[in-house]
């Protein structure tokens, strides 16, 4: 029963983070990277795994640190410093292991850096703390972040491809202008789940 609760916590948070409240499109976390990766569909799987991995690991490390009695009372800015330190340590550790043991290429490590050091991954510990997530839920939010990223990248990739073939787009809107407008529509779609009014 306990296991089921943990599992449901994890899954619900992951689904919520990925689909209901897509962190990339609703809050723009990691949006620069999503745009970049959207042009490389072959790398979707790799980036999803990397972002999920870093989000889960850094979130899982930060959560118990946050709950230390000596840390709880510290200002938010100090928590932020801790999260950045944890993320840097996790990334460097992963890079060193991959470099020395698995002898991965520098190109792979570059992608690892893009996946690890972005606003989406660094935001996860903050979100876990502010939402007072349980350990299982924090793992779920990390997993959901990776899925959210690939959902956003896939939607962007599809749109970019279609827009590139559309001859009716005015010249001055081609390129980044229409891309931003397209992202805004996607973002609006996910914002609809929040229930907030866009006029008041």
């Amino acid at each position: 029963m306990i296991d089921m609760n943990i599992f449901s916590d994890l899954m619900i948070t992951a689904l919520y983070t990925a689909f209901f409240q897509n962190l990339v499109l609703s809050f723009a976390y990691g949006s620069s990277e999503a745009v970049r990766i959207s042009l490389k569909p072959r790398t979707f799987g790799m980036f999803t795994a990397m972002i999920s991995g870093f989000s889960v690991i850094s979130g899982a490390i930060c959560l118990p640190i946050d709950r230390l009695p000596s840390v709880i009372a510290l200002p938010d800015s100090v928590h932020a410093l801790v999260y950045a330190g944890v993320l840097a340590a996790v990334y460097i550790t992963a890079a060193v292991i991959l470099k020395t043991i698995f002898r991965v290429s520098d190109h792979f490590l570059t992608n690892l850096g893009i996946a690890a050091l972005n606003t989406l991954v660094l935001a996860i510990p903050f979100i876990n703390r502010r939402s007072a997530y349980s350990f299982a839920a924090s793992l779920g939010s990390g997993l959901g972040a990776g899925v959210a990223f690939v959902v956003a990248a896939a939607l962007l990739a599809s749109g970019v491809h279609r827009m590139s073939e559309n001859k009716e787009i005015p010249q001055v809107f081609k390129g980044t202008p229409v891309l931003f407008l397209y992202i805004s529509l996607l973002s609006l779609g996910f914002a609809a789940f929040s229930g907030n009014s866009i006029f008041s």
Binding site: A28, R42, A80, G113, L122, F126, G175, P177, S200
Partner: protein, 356 residues
């Protein structure tokens, strides 16, 4: 011509406007879209961002040139966090009105992509003075976007300006959401594109984004699969060898094929060149990438893609590249595949002019 020279020499104009980090390089979108809900917040982010970027670029140019890239990017995070911490702590202690959401986004500046992109693409390749100048120019460009967004979003979304109530009847609170920021960014990008098209046409090509329409029929051979020798320009090199030199990812072919012109050279020529370059460098480094790009850009001979492909080119390979759609600036914001970035191009152009 004089005007062009001025623009090329004007690192501020180039860094802040022509190659704006948000509109052309598509970097820093998260912070720009989410944290620019009011003028004061945008101003605070502008200041913090400037400090972060200038310090990172300064240190990258001064100390990090010999470090591997994967380590440098982690250092940017640590330095960024160190730069931002005093601001965040001060704001917290003195009660400067950063709302809860902004308190979340401020630390995220430590991993903003603008800083790492410019550290990697410019600072580690240039002297300290130029790096700091570039960092400042980029900060101005990013800050300008933040401030414009902040002004528009606060006035029309909240009905205030710098916290003062303007008494507007209609408030488009949707503008305060990220989607509202993206709409404004879209129109601002349109204005920039119009400006470049009309007044700086020499930058049209460089700021236009191209979807990588570079399928040339190259494909990776499966393990054990032997390419027919006749299809390799008469040489015995296989695509596998080229893959070894270029890397294993098919996309990497796409990068290089952009630098080849239609025509014929043999696969042997390419492989020999690549081997020579590789010998000079212990590994297929970014420097090698750059030199290969130069090699292919400058060579007189041309290349016949069909000479070393085992499959017939797809129909689209025969069509000219798609109309510019996606930003070249994006490619500049790429990873190892495009080490020779726009910033470097700026440098090269300046040098060329100097030579002249």
């Amino acid at each position: 011509m004089a005007q062009q020279t001025n623009v090329k020499d004007n690192i501020l104009l180039r860094g802040a406007v022509i190659f704006n980090p948000v509109f052309i390089q598509l970097a820093g979108i998260c912070i720009a879209a989410a944290a620019s809900t009011d003028v004061i917040t945008a101003l605070i982010f502008f200041i913090v961002f400037t400090v972060d970027t200038v310090v990172c670029c300064f240190l990258a140019s001064l100390l990090f040139k010999r470090l591997p890239r994967w380590l440098r990017v982690a250092l940017y995070l640590i330095i960024g966090a160190g730069c931002i911490f005093p601001f965040a702590y001060f704001a917290e202690k003195t009660g400067i009105s950063l709302n809860a959401r902004m308190q979340l986004y401020l630390p995220l500046l430590a991993v903003n992509s603008v800083t790492s992109v410019h550290c990697e693409q410019f600072a580690v390749k240039n002297p300290v003075g130029k790096s700091v100048e570039d960092a400042f120019a980029v900060s101005v460009g990013f800050g300008a976007v933040m401030l414009i967004l902040g002004i528009i979003r606060e006035i029309f979304g909240n009905g205030t300006f710098a916290g003062l109530d303007l008494g507007l009847d209609i408030r488009l609170s949707g503008l305060l959401m990220p989607f509202g920021a993206f709409v404004i960014l879209g129109y601002l990008a349109m204005v920039l594109k119009w400006y470049i098209n009309k007044y700086r046409p020499e930058f049209n090509e460089k700021t236009a984004v191209k979807i990588k329409n570079t399928k040339v029929g190259l494909r990776r051979y499966e393990d054990g699969e032997q390419a027919p020798a006749a299809q390799h320009g008469g040489g015995d090199e296989s695509i596998t060898e080229m893959e070894f030199l270029f890397g294993n990812e098919p996309e990497e072919f796409e990068i290089f094929t952009e630098f080849w012109s239609p025509g014929v050279i043999t696969a042997r020529d390419i492989v020999t060149d690549m081997e020579n370059l590789s010998k000079e460098h212990e590994q297929f480094s970014s420097e090698t990438d750059r030199r290969v790009e130069e090699l292919f850009t400058n060579m007189d001979s041309t290349i016949d893609f069909e000479a070393f492909e085992a499959v017939a080119p797809e129909p689209e390979t025969q069509t000219p590249p798609q109309e510019d759609f996606f930003a070249a600036g994006f490619e500049e914001y790429e990873d190892d595949e495009s080490e020779e970035d726009e910033s470097s191009s700026v440098e090269n152009e300046s040098e060329e002019e100097g030579d002249d």
